[in-house]
Protein backbone atom coordinates (compact mmCIF):
# COMPACT_ATOMS: atom_id res chain seq x y z
CA UNK A 1 0.00 0.00 0.00
CA UNK A 2 1.26 3.44 -0.85
CA UNK A 3 1.17 6.31 1.59
CA UNK A 4 -1.81 7.76 -0.27
CA UNK A 5 -3.79 4.55 0.14
CA UNK A 6 -3.15 4.41 3.85
CA UNK A 7 -4.08 8.06 4.30
CA UNK A 8 -7.29 7.42 2.41
CA UNK A 9 -7.99 4.41 4.58
CA UNK A 10 -7.63 6.47 7.76
CA UNK A 11 -9.99 9.09 6.31
CA UNK A 12 -12.64 6.65 5.10
CA UNK A 13 -14.33 5.96 8.45
CA UNK A 14 -15.14 9.68 8.54
CA UNK A 15 -15.84 10.35 4.85
CA UNK A 16 -17.99 7.29 4.12
CA UNK A 17 -20.76 7.97 6.66
CA UNK A 18 -20.90 11.58 5.45
CA UNK A 19 -21.17 10.50 1.83
CA UNK A 20 -23.91 8.00 2.68
CA UNK A 21 -25.76 10.59 4.75
CA UNK A 22 -25.69 12.99 1.78
CA UNK A 23 -27.05 10.32 -0.55
CA UNK A 24 -29.80 9.53 1.96
CA UNK A 25 -30.68 13.22 2.29
CA UNK A 26 -31.12 13.49 -1.46
CA UNK A 27 -33.56 10.60 -1.24
CA UNK A 28 -35.23 11.96 1.87
CA UNK A 29 -38.74 10.91 0.84
CA UNK A 30 -37.82 7.44 -0.39
CA UNK A 31 -37.64 5.30 2.76
CA UNK A 32 -37.04 2.01 1.00
CA UNK A 33 -33.96 3.43 -0.69
CA UNK A 34 -32.73 4.85 2.63
CA UNK A 35 -33.10 1.46 4.33
CA UNK A 36 -31.06 -0.21 1.62
CA UNK A 37 -28.42 2.53 1.71
CA UNK A 38 -28.29 2.15 5.47
CA UNK A 39 -27.51 -1.56 5.19
CA UNK A 40 -24.88 -0.84 2.53
CA UNK A 41 -23.36 1.90 4.70
CA UNK A 42 -23.24 -0.38 7.74
CA UNK A 43 -21.60 -3.20 5.81
CA UNK A 44 -19.09 -1.01 3.99
CA UNK A 45 -18.23 0.79 7.22
CA UNK A 46 -17.62 -2.52 8.95
CA UNK A 47 -15.36 -3.76 6.16
CA UNK A 48 -13.39 -0.50 6.11
CA UNK A 49 -12.91 -0.63 9.87
CA UNK A 50 -11.59 -4.20 9.63
CA UNK A 51 -9.16 -3.23 6.87
CA UNK A 52 -8.03 -0.19 8.85
CA UNK A 53 -7.54 -2.32 11.93
CA UNK A 54 -5.40 -4.89 10.12
CA UNK A 55 -3.40 -2.15 8.39
CA UNK A 56 -2.60 -0.47 11.69
CA UNK A 57 -1.74 -3.86 13.16
CA UNK A 58 0.77 -4.49 10.39
CA UNK A 59 2.10 -1.00 9.69
CA UNK A 60 1.95 0.69 13.10
CA UNK A 61 0.73 4.19 13.91
CA UNK A 62 -0.46 6.20 10.89
CA UNK A 63 -0.66 9.98 10.75
CA UNK A 64 -2.59 12.10 8.25
CA UNK A 65 -2.03 15.85 8.08
CA UNK A 66 -5.31 17.23 6.76
CA UNK A 67 -4.92 19.74 3.95
CA UNK A 68 -1.20 19.08 3.79
CA UNK A 69 -0.41 21.63 6.49
CA UNK A 70 2.83 21.21 8.43
CA UNK A 71 2.31 19.01 11.40
CA UNK A 72 1.97 20.86 14.66
CA UNK A 73 -0.02 23.63 12.92
CA UNK A 74 -2.77 21.89 10.99
CA UNK A 75 -5.27 19.26 12.06
CA UNK A 76 -3.94 15.72 12.15
CA UNK A 77 -5.70 12.39 12.21
CA UNK A 78 -3.80 9.73 14.11
CA UNK A 79 -4.65 6.05 13.98
CA UNK A 80 -2.79 4.10 16.63
CA UNK A 81 -3.79 0.70 18.02
CA UNK A 82 -6.32 2.13 20.45
CA UNK A 83 -8.01 4.25 17.77
CA UNK A 84 -8.06 1.29 15.42
CA UNK A 85 -9.77 -0.91 18.02
CA UNK A 86 -12.36 1.74 18.74
CA UNK A 87 -13.05 2.38 15.04
CA UNK A 88 -13.42 -1.37 14.60
CA UNK A 89 -15.96 -1.38 17.43
CA UNK A 90 -17.89 1.49 15.91
CA UNK A 91 -17.87 -0.30 12.54
CA UNK A 92 -19.21 -3.43 14.20
CA UNK A 93 -21.85 -1.41 16.02
CA UNK A 94 -22.89 0.46 12.88
CA UNK A 95 -23.24 -2.85 11.06
CA UNK A 96 -25.37 -4.54 13.73
CA UNK A 97 -27.51 -1.49 14.46
CA UNK A 98 -28.16 -0.92 10.73
CA UNK A 99 -29.78 -4.34 10.50
CA UNK A 100 -31.56 -4.01 13.82
CA UNK A 101 -33.04 -0.62 12.86
CA UNK A 102 -34.89 -2.05 9.87
CA UNK A 103 -37.31 -3.98 12.04
CA UNK A 104 -37.47 -1.95 15.23
CA UNK A 105 -37.64 1.69 14.14
CA UNK A 106 -41.13 2.79 13.18
CA UNK A 107 -42.03 4.64 10.04
CA UNK A 108 -42.64 8.01 11.67
CA UNK A 109 -39.12 8.10 13.07
CA UNK A 110 -37.67 6.90 9.80
CA UNK A 111 -39.33 9.82 8.04
CA UNK A 112 -37.69 12.22 10.46
CA UNK A 113 -34.22 11.55 9.06
CA UNK A 114 -33.37 8.61 11.29
CA UNK A 115 -30.94 7.01 8.85
CA UNK A 116 -28.94 10.11 7.83
CA UNK A 117 -28.64 11.04 11.52
CA UNK A 118 -27.36 7.58 12.33
CA UNK A 119 -24.61 8.01 9.74
CA UNK A 120 -23.70 11.49 10.97
CA UNK A 121 -23.51 10.10 14.50
CA UNK A 122 -21.11 7.39 13.34
CA UNK A 123 -19.05 10.01 11.53
CA UNK A 124 -18.76 12.02 14.74
CA UNK A 125 -17.80 8.97 16.77
CA UNK A 126 -15.16 7.87 14.26
CA UNK A 127 -13.83 11.41 14.05
CA UNK A 128 -13.44 11.57 17.82
CA UNK A 129 -11.56 8.27 17.78
CA UNK A 130 -9.20 9.28 14.99
CA UNK A 131 -8.39 12.91 15.61
CA UNK A 132 -5.06 13.99 17.00
CA UNK A 133 -6.04 17.58 17.67
CA UNK A 134 -7.67 18.88 20.83
CA UNK A 135 -9.98 21.43 19.24
CA UNK A 136 -10.91 19.05 16.46
CA UNK A 137 -11.89 16.57 19.17
CA UNK A 138 -14.28 19.19 20.51
CA UNK A 139 -15.80 19.61 17.06
CA UNK A 140 -16.34 15.87 16.65
CA UNK A 141 -17.93 15.77 20.08
CA UNK A 142 -20.38 18.40 18.94
CA UNK A 143 -21.14 16.56 15.69
CA UNK A 144 -21.81 13.47 17.74
CA UNK A 145 -23.86 15.25 20.41
CA UNK A 146 -26.08 17.25 18.08
CA UNK A 147 -27.07 14.17 16.12
CA UNK A 148 -27.54 12.20 19.34
CA UNK A 149 -29.82 14.95 20.73
CA UNK A 150 -32.11 14.54 17.76
CA UNK A 151 -32.01 10.75 17.81
CA UNK A 152 -32.81 10.76 21.51
CA UNK A 153 -35.85 12.98 21.12
CA UNK A 154 -37.06 11.24 17.95
CA UNK A 155 -40.72 10.41 18.48
CA UNK A 156 -41.30 13.26 20.91
CA UNK A 157 -42.95 11.34 23.74
CA UNK A 158 -43.11 13.08 27.10
CA UNK A 159 -40.62 10.88 28.93
CA UNK A 160 -38.29 11.13 25.94
CA UNK A 161 -38.27 14.91 26.07
CA UNK A 162 -37.78 14.81 29.83
CA UNK A 163 -34.74 12.57 29.40
CA UNK A 164 -33.46 14.57 26.45
CA UNK A 165 -33.57 17.85 28.39
CA UNK A 166 -31.34 16.37 31.10
CA UNK A 167 -29.05 14.84 28.49
CA UNK A 168 -28.75 18.04 26.50
CA UNK A 169 -28.21 20.30 29.51
CA UNK A 170 -25.51 18.22 31.16
CA UNK A 171 -23.73 17.50 27.91
CA UNK A 172 -23.72 21.16 26.90
CA UNK A 173 -22.24 22.06 30.29
CA UNK A 174 -19.64 19.39 29.72
CA UNK A 175 -18.81 20.80 26.29
CA UNK A 176 -18.47 24.26 27.80
CA UNK A 177 -16.01 23.04 30.42
CA UNK A 178 -14.13 21.10 27.75
CA UNK A 179 -13.86 24.17 25.55
CA UNK A 180 -12.66 26.35 28.43
CA UNK A 181 -10.07 23.73 29.33
CA UNK A 182 -8.86 23.61 25.72
CA UNK A 183 -8.63 27.40 25.76
CA UNK A 184 -6.54 27.48 28.93
CA UNK A 185 -4.33 24.70 27.63
CA UNK A 186 -3.77 26.63 24.42
CA UNK A 187 -2.94 29.71 26.46
CA UNK A 188 -0.37 27.74 28.45
CA UNK A 189 1.33 25.93 25.61
CA UNK A 190 0.38 27.64 22.34
CA UNK A 191 -0.54 24.41 20.60
CA UNK A 192 -3.55 22.14 20.15
CA UNK A 193 -1.90 19.14 18.54
CA UNK A 194 -2.11 16.34 21.10
CA UNK A 195 1.38 15.00 20.52
CA UNK A 196 2.82 18.51 20.62
CA UNK A 197 0.82 19.19 23.79
CA UNK A 198 2.25 16.04 25.37
CA UNK A 199 5.73 17.50 24.93
CA UNK A 200 4.96 21.09 25.85
CA UNK A 201 2.77 20.46 28.90
CA UNK A 202 5.80 19.00 30.69
CA UNK A 203 7.67 22.27 30.10
CA UNK A 204 5.00 24.56 31.55
CA UNK A 205 6.31 26.30 34.66
CA UNK A 206 2.95 26.61 36.38
CA UNK A 207 2.26 22.90 36.95
CA UNK A 208 -0.54 23.79 39.38
CA UNK A 209 -2.55 25.27 36.54
CA UNK A 210 -1.87 22.17 34.46
CA UNK A 211 -3.45 20.05 37.19
CA UNK A 212 -6.45 22.38 37.22
CA UNK A 213 -6.84 21.90 33.47
CA UNK A 214 -6.50 18.15 33.93
CA UNK A 215 -9.34 18.22 36.44
CA UNK A 216 -11.46 20.28 34.06
CA UNK A 217 -10.95 17.62 31.41
CA UNK A 218 -11.80 14.99 33.97
CA UNK A 219 -15.10 16.70 34.84
CA UNK A 220 -15.96 17.27 31.20
CA UNK A 221 -15.19 13.73 30.02
CA UNK A 222 -16.67 12.45 33.26
CA UNK A 223 -20.04 13.91 32.35
CA UNK A 224 -19.81 12.47 28.85
CA UNK A 225 -18.89 9.00 30.07
CA UNK A 226 -21.35 9.11 32.99
CA UNK A 227 -19.12 8.66 36.03
CA UNK A 228 -20.09 9.42 39.61
CA UNK A 229 -21.49 11.97 40.55
CA UNK A 230 -22.35 13.26 37.07
CA UNK A 231 -24.15 10.27 35.62
CA UNK A 232 -27.76 11.26 36.31
CA UNK A 233 -28.47 12.09 32.65
CA UNK A 234 -27.76 8.55 31.50
CA UNK A 235 -30.39 6.52 33.38
CA UNK A 236 -32.84 9.37 32.78
CA UNK A 237 -32.54 9.26 29.02
CA UNK A 238 -31.22 5.93 27.71
CA UNK A 239 -34.40 3.94 28.23
CA UNK A 240 -36.61 6.35 26.29
CA UNK A 241 -35.62 6.47 22.57
CA UNK A 242 -36.25 3.75 19.94
CA UNK A 243 -34.41 0.67 21.13
CA UNK A 244 -31.93 0.64 18.24
CA UNK A 245 -30.83 4.11 19.33
CA UNK A 246 -30.57 2.96 22.94
CA UNK A 247 -28.38 0.08 21.87
CA UNK A 248 -26.07 2.28 19.84
CA UNK A 249 -25.79 4.89 22.60
CA UNK A 250 -25.25 2.25 25.27
CA UNK A 251 -22.54 0.57 23.27
CA UNK A 252 -20.75 3.50 21.78
CA UNK A 253 -21.46 6.98 23.09
CA UNK A 254 -20.36 6.77 26.71
CA UNK A 255 -17.33 4.85 25.53
CA UNK A 256 -16.26 7.86 23.48
CA UNK A 257 -15.98 9.72 26.78
CA UNK A 258 -13.94 6.88 28.25
CA UNK A 259 -11.75 6.78 25.15
CA UNK A 260 -10.92 10.48 25.38
CA UNK A 261 -10.21 10.06 29.07
CA UNK A 262 -7.71 7.32 28.28
CA UNK A 263 -6.22 9.39 25.49
CA UNK A 264 -5.83 12.61 27.44
CA UNK A 265 -4.67 11.13 30.72
CA UNK A 266 -2.14 8.80 29.18
CA UNK A 267 -0.80 11.10 26.50
CA UNK A 268 -1.01 14.70 27.61
CA UNK A 269 -0.94 14.56 31.38
CA UNK A 270 1.78 12.72 33.21
CA UNK A 271 0.66 9.18 34.04
CA UNK A 272 2.95 9.14 37.05
CA UNK A 273 1.02 12.00 38.65
CA UNK A 274 -0.28 10.30 41.78
CA UNK A 275 -2.90 12.93 42.52
CA UNK A 276 -4.72 12.41 39.23
CA UNK A 277 -4.53 8.64 39.60
CA UNK A 278 -6.01 8.73 43.11
CA UNK A 279 -8.84 11.05 42.11
CA UNK A 280 -9.71 8.79 39.19
CA UNK A 281 -9.66 5.70 41.40
CA UNK A 282 -11.99 7.26 43.99
CA UNK A 283 -14.40 8.33 41.24
CA UNK A 284 -14.21 4.85 39.75
CA UNK A 285 -15.09 3.18 43.05
CA UNK A 286 -18.15 5.34 43.61
CA UNK A 287 -19.23 4.96 39.98
CA UNK A 288 -19.14 1.18 40.16
CA UNK A 289 -21.06 1.05 43.41
CA UNK A 290 -23.76 3.66 42.76
CA UNK A 291 -24.40 2.28 39.28
CA UNK A 292 -24.99 -1.24 40.45
CA UNK A 293 -27.04 -0.19 43.49
CA UNK A 294 -29.17 2.00 41.24
CA UNK A 295 -29.74 -0.97 38.96
CA UNK A 296 -30.87 -3.14 41.86
CA UNK A 297 -33.67 -0.69 42.64
CA UNK A 298 -35.08 -0.56 39.10
CA UNK A 299 -37.95 -2.43 37.60
CA UNK A 300 -37.64 -1.62 33.92
CA UNK A 301 -35.59 -3.81 31.59
CA UNK A 302 -33.80 -0.95 29.88
CA UNK A 303 -33.37 1.13 33.05
CA UNK A 304 -31.56 -1.74 34.77
CA UNK A 305 -29.27 -2.01 31.77
CA UNK A 306 -28.72 1.76 31.74
CA UNK A 307 -27.63 1.79 35.36
CA UNK A 308 -25.31 -1.08 34.57
CA UNK A 309 -23.56 1.05 31.98
CA UNK A 310 -22.68 3.47 34.75
CA UNK A 311 -21.38 0.69 36.92
CA UNK A 312 -19.34 -0.79 34.07
CA UNK A 313 -17.85 2.57 33.13
CA UNK A 314 -16.53 2.51 36.71
CA UNK A 315 -14.42 -0.55 35.88
CA UNK A 316 -12.98 1.08 32.77
CA UNK A 317 -12.12 4.24 34.68
CA UNK A 318 -10.65 2.14 37.47
CA UNK A 319 -8.34 0.46 34.98
CA UNK A 320 -7.25 3.94 33.86
CA UNK A 321 -6.73 5.08 37.44
CA UNK A 322 -4.36 2.20 38.19
CA UNK A 323 -2.01 3.76 35.62
CA UNK A 324 0.12 0.80 34.58
CA UNK A 325 0.59 -0.63 31.10
CA UNK A 326 -1.13 -3.84 32.18
CA UNK A 327 -4.13 -2.02 33.63
CA UNK A 328 -4.55 -0.05 30.38
CA UNK A 329 -4.56 -3.33 28.49
CA UNK A 330 -7.17 -4.72 30.89
CA UNK A 331 -9.24 -1.56 30.51
CA UNK A 332 -9.15 -1.76 26.72
CA UNK A 333 -10.22 -5.38 26.75
CA UNK A 334 -12.98 -4.36 29.15
CA UNK A 335 -14.20 -1.59 26.84
CA UNK A 336 -14.33 -3.96 23.87
CA UNK A 337 -16.20 -6.70 25.67
CA UNK A 338 -18.54 -4.19 27.27
CA UNK A 339 -19.50 -2.52 23.99
CA UNK A 340 -20.44 -5.84 22.43
CA UNK A 341 -22.26 -7.32 25.41
CA UNK A 342 -24.18 -4.21 26.39
CA UNK A 343 -25.39 -3.62 22.85
CA UNK A 344 -26.55 -7.19 22.64
CA UNK A 345 -28.46 -6.92 25.93
CA UNK A 346 -30.25 -3.86 24.57
CA UNK A 347 -30.98 -5.73 21.34
CA UNK A 348 -32.56 -8.50 23.39
CA UNK A 349 -34.57 -6.05 25.47
CA UNK A 350 -35.91 -4.74 22.16
CA UNK A 351 -36.84 -8.25 21.04
CA UNK A 352 -38.64 -8.80 24.35
CA UNK A 353 -40.49 -5.54 23.88
CA UNK A 354 -41.46 -6.53 20.38
CA UNK A 355 -42.92 -9.76 21.73
CA UNK A 356 -44.58 -8.50 24.89
CA UNK A 357 -45.08 -4.80 24.21
CA UNK A 358 -43.46 -3.66 27.46
CA UNK A 359 -40.15 -3.25 29.24
CA UNK A 360 -41.73 -3.47 32.68
CA UNK A 361 -40.48 -6.48 34.61
CA UNK A 362 -43.70 -6.73 36.62
CA UNK A 363 -45.79 -7.52 33.59
CA UNK A 364 -43.24 -9.64 31.75
CA UNK A 365 -42.92 -13.38 32.26
CA UNK A 366 -42.97 -16.78 30.71
CA UNK A 367 -40.42 -16.02 27.99
CA UNK A 368 -38.30 -19.05 28.77
CA UNK A 369 -41.12 -21.48 28.07
CA UNK A 370 -42.19 -19.91 24.81
CA UNK A 371 -38.97 -18.47 23.41
CA UNK A 372 -36.06 -20.63 24.60
CA UNK A 373 -33.78 -19.29 21.87
CA UNK A 374 -34.24 -15.67 22.96
CA UNK A 375 -33.66 -16.79 26.54
CA UNK A 376 -30.42 -18.47 25.53
CA UNK A 377 -29.23 -15.28 23.82
CA UNK A 378 -30.00 -13.31 26.97
CA UNK A 379 -28.38 -15.89 29.21
CA UNK A 380 -25.08 -15.81 27.34
CA UNK A 381 -24.92 -12.00 27.43
CA UNK A 382 -26.02 -11.84 31.06
CA UNK A 383 -23.37 -14.37 32.08
CA UNK A 384 -20.79 -12.42 30.13
CA UNK A 385 -21.80 -9.14 31.72
CA UNK A 386 -21.65 -10.49 35.24
CA UNK A 387 -18.29 -12.13 34.63
CA UNK A 388 -19.01 -15.87 34.81
CA UNK A 389 -16.17 -17.96 33.37
CA UNK A 390 -15.44 -18.92 30.65
CA UNK A 391 -17.08 -15.91 28.97
CA UNK A 392 -15.15 -12.78 27.96
CA UNK A 393 -16.55 -10.80 30.88
CA UNK A 394 -14.72 -13.04 33.29
CA UNK A 395 -11.37 -12.39 31.62
CA UNK A 396 -12.08 -8.67 31.52
CA UNK A 397 -12.94 -8.45 35.22
CA UNK A 398 -10.16 -10.86 36.14
CA UNK A 399 -7.47 -8.84 34.36
CA UNK A 400 -8.70 -5.54 35.80
CA UNK A 401 -8.61 -7.06 39.29
CA UNK A 402 -5.20 -8.58 38.58
CA UNK A 403 -3.88 -5.19 37.47
CA UNK A 404 -5.07 -3.81 40.82
CA UNK A 405 -3.42 -6.62 42.81
CA UNK A 406 -0.14 -6.04 40.98
CA UNK A 407 0.17 -2.57 42.46
CA UNK A 408 -1.48 -3.47 45.77
CA UNK A 409 -4.67 -1.45 45.48
CA UNK A 410 -6.65 -3.98 47.49
CA UNK A 411 -9.53 -1.71 48.46
CA UNK A 412 -10.66 -0.87 44.93
CA UNK A 413 -10.13 -4.46 43.78
CA UNK A 414 -12.28 -5.76 46.64
CA UNK A 415 -14.95 -3.24 45.75
CA UNK A 416 -14.87 -4.24 42.08
CA UNK A 417 -15.34 -7.92 42.99
CA UNK A 418 -18.23 -7.06 45.30
CA UNK A 419 -19.85 -5.00 42.53
CA UNK A 420 -19.44 -7.98 40.19
CA UNK A 421 -21.55 -10.00 42.60
CA UNK A 422 -24.25 -7.34 42.67
CA UNK A 423 -24.24 -7.27 38.86
CA UNK A 424 -25.02 -10.95 38.91
CA UNK A 425 -27.87 -10.19 41.31
CA UNK A 426 -29.63 -7.75 39.00
CA UNK A 427 -29.07 -9.95 35.95
CA UNK A 428 -30.72 -12.73 37.94
CA UNK A 429 -33.56 -10.36 38.65
CA UNK A 430 -34.24 -9.76 34.96
CA UNK A 431 -33.91 -13.47 34.32
CA UNK A 432 -36.35 -14.35 37.12
CA UNK A 433 -38.99 -11.83 36.27
CA UNK A 434 -38.91 -11.72 32.50
CA UNK A 435 -37.90 -15.25 31.56
CA UNK A 436 -38.31 -17.70 34.40
CA UNK A 437 -41.55 -16.84 36.19
CA UNK A 438 -44.92 -17.95 34.84
CA UNK A 439 -46.65 -15.85 32.30
CA UNK A 440 -49.44 -13.74 33.74
CA UNK A 441 -51.51 -13.23 30.68
CA UNK A 442 -50.99 -13.19 26.96
CA UNK A 443 -50.92 -9.58 25.92
CA UNK A 444 -52.58 -8.03 22.91
CA UNK A 445 -49.13 -7.28 21.52
CA UNK A 446 -48.07 -10.90 21.60
CA UNK A 447 -50.90 -11.98 19.36
CA UNK A 448 -49.72 -9.27 16.99
CA UNK A 449 -46.24 -10.74 17.16
CA UNK A 450 -47.48 -14.15 15.98
CA UNK A 451 -48.66 -12.48 12.79
CA UNK A 452 -45.27 -11.03 11.90
CA UNK A 453 -43.88 -12.96 8.91
CA UNK A 454 -41.07 -15.34 9.73
CA UNK A 455 -38.46 -13.47 7.62
CA UNK A 456 -38.98 -10.33 9.63
CA UNK A 457 -38.62 -12.31 12.84
CA UNK A 458 -35.30 -13.64 11.63
CA UNK A 459 -34.27 -10.13 10.70
CA UNK A 460 -35.14 -9.11 14.26
CA UNK A 461 -33.13 -11.93 15.81
CA UNK A 462 -30.14 -11.90 13.47
CA UNK A 463 -28.29 -8.85 14.87
CA UNK A 464 -28.51 -10.32 18.35
CA UNK A 465 -27.38 -13.74 17.12
CA UNK A 466 -24.51 -12.05 15.31
CA UNK A 467 -23.45 -10.17 18.44
CA UNK A 468 -23.70 -13.35 20.52
CA UNK A 469 -21.40 -15.09 18.08
CA UNK A 470 -18.97 -12.18 18.42
CA UNK A 471 -19.14 -12.53 22.21
CA UNK A 472 -18.44 -16.25 21.98
CA UNK A 473 -15.55 -15.64 19.60
CA UNK A 474 -14.13 -13.02 21.93
CA UNK A 475 -14.48 -15.47 24.84
CA UNK A 476 -12.85 -18.27 22.87
CA UNK A 477 -9.98 -16.17 21.55
CA UNK A 478 -9.62 -14.07 24.66
CA UNK A 479 -5.91 -14.88 24.70
CA UNK A 480 -5.11 -13.43 21.28
CA UNK A 481 -7.43 -10.48 21.85
CA UNK A 482 -5.72 -9.75 25.12
CA UNK A 483 -2.29 -10.00 23.52
CA UNK A 484 -3.31 -7.18 21.22
CA UNK A 485 -4.72 -5.26 24.18
CA UNK A 486 -1.34 -5.61 25.90
CA UNK A 487 0.40 -4.17 22.84
CA UNK A 488 -2.05 -1.28 22.92
CA UNK A 489 -1.56 -0.82 26.65
CA UNK A 490 2.20 -0.59 26.07
CA UNK A 491 1.57 2.07 23.43
CA UNK A 492 -0.57 4.07 25.84
CA UNK A 493 1.84 3.74 28.74
CA UNK A 494 4.71 4.97 26.56
CA UNK A 495 3.39 8.12 24.88
CA UNK A 496 6.76 8.43 23.15
CA UNK A 497 5.52 6.08 20.39
CA UNK A 498 2.60 8.36 19.63
CA UNK A 499 4.65 11.54 19.87
CA UNK A 500 7.38 10.19 17.59
CA UNK A 501 4.85 9.02 15.04
CA UNK A 502 3.22 12.45 14.86
CA UNK A 503 6.13 14.84 15.30
CA UNK A 504 8.79 12.62 13.77
CA UNK A 505 11.54 11.15 15.93
CA UNK A 506 13.44 13.96 17.57
Amino acid sequence: MTKFDIELLVLLPILLPLAFAIVMLFAWNNLQFQRVMNLVAGSVGFIVSIVLFSTIYVNGIQVVAIGGWKIPYGIVLVADNFSAIMVLMSGLMGFAVAFYSIVTVNKKNEQHFYYPLLQILLMGVNGAFLTGDMFNLYVWFEVMLISSFVLLALGGKQEQLEGAVKYVTLNLISSMIFLSAVGILYGLTGTLNMADLAVKVQLVENQGLVTVVAMMFLVSFGIKSAVFPLFSWLPASYHTPPVAVSALFAGLLTKVGVYTMYRVFTLIFDINNEFIGTVILIIAGFTMLTGVLGAAAQNDFRRILSFHIVSQVGYMVMALGLMTAFSFAAGIFYIVYHIITKTNLFFISGIVEKIKGTYNLDTLGGLFKKYPSVSLLFLISAFTLSGIPPFAGFWAKFTVALAGFCIEQYLIVGLSLFVGLLTLYSMTKIWNYAFWQDEKQESEMEREFYKIPIQRKYLLYSPSIFMTVVILLLSLFAGSAFDFAVLTGEQLANPQYYINAVLGGK
Binding site: L15, I22, F26, W28, G67, G68
Partner: protein
Protein backbone atom coordinates in the same frame (compact mmCIF):
# COMPACT_ATOMS: atom_id res chain seq x y z
CA UNK B 1 -50.65 40.23 8.26
CA UNK B 2 -50.46 41.88 4.87
CA UNK B 3 -48.81 45.27 4.66
CA UNK B 4 -48.38 46.93 1.31
CA UNK B 5 -45.42 48.94 2.50
CA UNK B 6 -43.57 45.85 3.67
CA UNK B 7 -44.49 43.89 0.55
CA UNK B 8 -43.29 46.62 -1.78
CA UNK B 9 -40.12 47.15 0.17
CA UNK B 10 -39.44 43.39 0.23
CA UNK B 11 -39.71 43.17 -3.55
CA UNK B 12 -36.78 45.58 -3.82
CA UNK B 13 -34.88 44.34 -0.79
CA UNK B 14 -34.85 40.67 -1.71
CA UNK B 15 -32.52 40.96 -4.74
CA UNK B 16 -30.30 43.45 -2.96
CA UNK B 17 -29.96 41.20 0.08
CA UNK B 18 -29.20 38.20 -2.10
CA UNK B 19 -26.57 40.17 -3.98
CA UNK B 20 -25.09 41.30 -0.68
CA UNK B 21 -24.98 37.69 0.51
CA UNK B 22 -22.98 36.75 -2.60
CA UNK B 23 -20.66 39.65 -1.94
CA UNK B 24 -20.10 38.37 1.62
CA UNK B 25 -19.53 34.85 0.33
CA UNK B 26 -16.87 35.87 -2.20
CA UNK B 27 -14.99 38.32 -0.06
CA UNK B 28 -14.84 35.78 2.77
CA UNK B 29 -11.61 34.14 1.72
CA UNK B 30 -9.27 36.71 3.18
CA UNK B 31 -11.56 39.26 4.82
CA UNK B 32 -14.51 39.10 7.22
CA UNK B 33 -17.41 37.30 5.59
CA UNK B 34 -17.68 33.84 4.14
CA UNK B 35 -20.18 31.11 3.48
CA UNK B 36 -21.76 31.11 6.91
CA UNK B 37 -22.54 34.82 7.13
CA UNK B 38 -23.50 34.94 3.47
CA UNK B 39 -25.87 32.04 3.93
CA UNK B 40 -27.46 33.70 6.93
CA UNK B 41 -28.05 36.92 5.01
CA UNK B 42 -29.58 35.02 2.10
CA UNK B 43 -31.79 33.05 4.48
CA UNK B 44 -32.77 36.30 6.18
CA UNK B 45 -33.87 37.64 2.79
CA UNK B 46 -36.20 34.67 2.37
CA UNK B 47 -37.37 35.05 5.96
CA UNK B 48 -38.29 38.66 5.22
CA UNK B 49 -40.17 37.52 2.15
CA UNK B 50 -42.09 34.93 4.16
CA UNK B 51 -43.02 37.58 6.74
CA UNK B 52 -44.31 39.90 4.04
CA UNK B 53 -46.08 37.38 1.80
CA UNK B 54 -46.60 34.33 3.98
CA UNK B 55 -44.74 31.04 4.19
CA UNK B 56 -46.49 29.41 1.25
CA UNK B 57 -45.34 32.21 -1.07
CA UNK B 58 -41.80 31.93 0.27
CA UNK B 59 -41.83 28.19 -0.42
CA UNK B 60 -43.02 28.87 -3.96
CA UNK B 61 -40.25 31.41 -4.44
CA UNK B 62 -37.62 28.96 -3.23
CA UNK B 63 -39.06 26.25 -5.54
CA UNK B 64 -37.14 23.34 -3.99
CA UNK B 65 -37.42 21.64 -0.63
CA UNK B 66 -34.71 22.95 1.78
CA UNK B 67 -33.53 19.38 2.51
CA UNK B 68 -32.14 19.24 -1.02
CA UNK B 69 -30.21 22.44 -0.31
CA UNK B 70 -28.70 20.85 2.81
CA UNK B 71 -27.71 17.75 0.87
CA UNK B 72 -26.29 19.78 -2.02
CA UNK B 73 -24.27 21.98 0.29
CA UNK B 74 -22.82 19.01 2.16
CA UNK B 75 -21.97 17.44 -1.18
CA UNK B 76 -20.13 20.59 -2.33
CA UNK B 77 -18.13 20.60 0.89
CA UNK B 78 -17.25 16.92 0.59
CA UNK B 79 -16.27 17.29 -3.07
CA UNK B 80 -14.13 20.34 -2.34
CA UNK B 81 -12.14 18.22 0.09
CA UNK B 82 -11.87 15.33 -2.34
CA UNK B 83 -10.63 17.39 -5.30
CA UNK B 84 -7.16 16.95 -3.84
CA UNK B 85 -7.44 13.17 -4.30
CA UNK B 86 -7.10 13.58 -8.06
CA UNK B 87 -3.52 14.72 -7.64
CA UNK B 88 -2.87 12.19 -4.84
CA UNK B 89 -2.72 14.85 -2.16
CA UNK B 90 -4.21 14.65 1.33
CA UNK B 91 -7.86 15.39 1.93
CA UNK B 92 -8.72 19.11 1.84
CA UNK B 93 -5.47 20.28 0.30
CA UNK B 94 -6.32 23.57 -1.43
CA UNK B 95 -6.26 23.41 -5.25
CA UNK B 96 -6.27 26.61 -7.31
CA UNK B 97 -6.92 27.38 -10.95
CA UNK B 98 -3.94 28.69 -12.89
CA UNK B 99 -5.59 31.63 -14.64
CA UNK B 100 -7.48 34.63 -13.31
CA UNK B 101 -11.22 34.84 -13.80
CA UNK B 102 -12.54 38.33 -14.32
CA UNK B 103 -14.02 39.78 -11.12
CA UNK B 104 -13.25 36.72 -8.95
CA UNK B 105 -9.54 36.21 -9.44
CA UNK B 106 -8.25 32.69 -9.02
CA UNK B 107 -10.86 30.08 -8.23
CA UNK B 108 -10.05 27.16 -5.97
CA UNK B 109 -11.43 24.33 -3.91
CA UNK B 110 -11.79 26.43 -0.72
CA UNK B 111 -14.37 28.54 -2.56
CA UNK B 112 -16.37 25.42 -3.32
CA UNK B 113 -16.25 24.56 0.37
CA UNK B 114 -17.52 28.01 1.28
CA UNK B 115 -20.23 27.70 -1.33
CA UNK B 116 -21.23 24.43 0.31
CA UNK B 117 -21.44 26.11 3.70
CA UNK B 118 -23.49 28.91 2.12
CA UNK B 119 -26.02 26.48 0.70
CA UNK B 120 -26.21 24.36 3.86
CA UNK B 121 -26.85 27.42 6.01
CA UNK B 122 -29.65 28.60 3.72
CA UNK B 123 -31.13 25.12 3.68
CA UNK B 124 -31.05 24.58 7.44
CA UNK B 125 -32.30 28.05 8.34
CA UNK B 126 -35.19 27.83 5.93
CA UNK B 127 -36.03 24.29 7.01
CA UNK B 128 -36.24 25.50 10.62
CA UNK B 129 -38.23 28.57 9.58
CA UNK B 130 -40.72 26.62 7.50
CA UNK B 131 -41.17 23.93 10.13
CA UNK B 132 -41.79 26.43 12.90
CA UNK B 133 -44.28 28.46 10.88
CA UNK B 134 -46.18 25.28 10.00
CA UNK B 135 -46.56 24.48 13.68
CA UNK B 136 -47.99 27.92 14.37
CA UNK B 137 -50.84 27.44 11.88
CA UNK B 138 -54.10 26.73 13.73
Amino acid sequence: MKSIILQTATRYLLPILLLFSFFLLFRGHNSPGGGFVGGLVAAAAYALYSIAFGVEEAKKLLRIEPVYLIATGLMFALISGMIAFFSFDTFMTGKWSDFNFPLFGKLGSPLLFDLGVYVVVIGITLKILFTISEEVKP
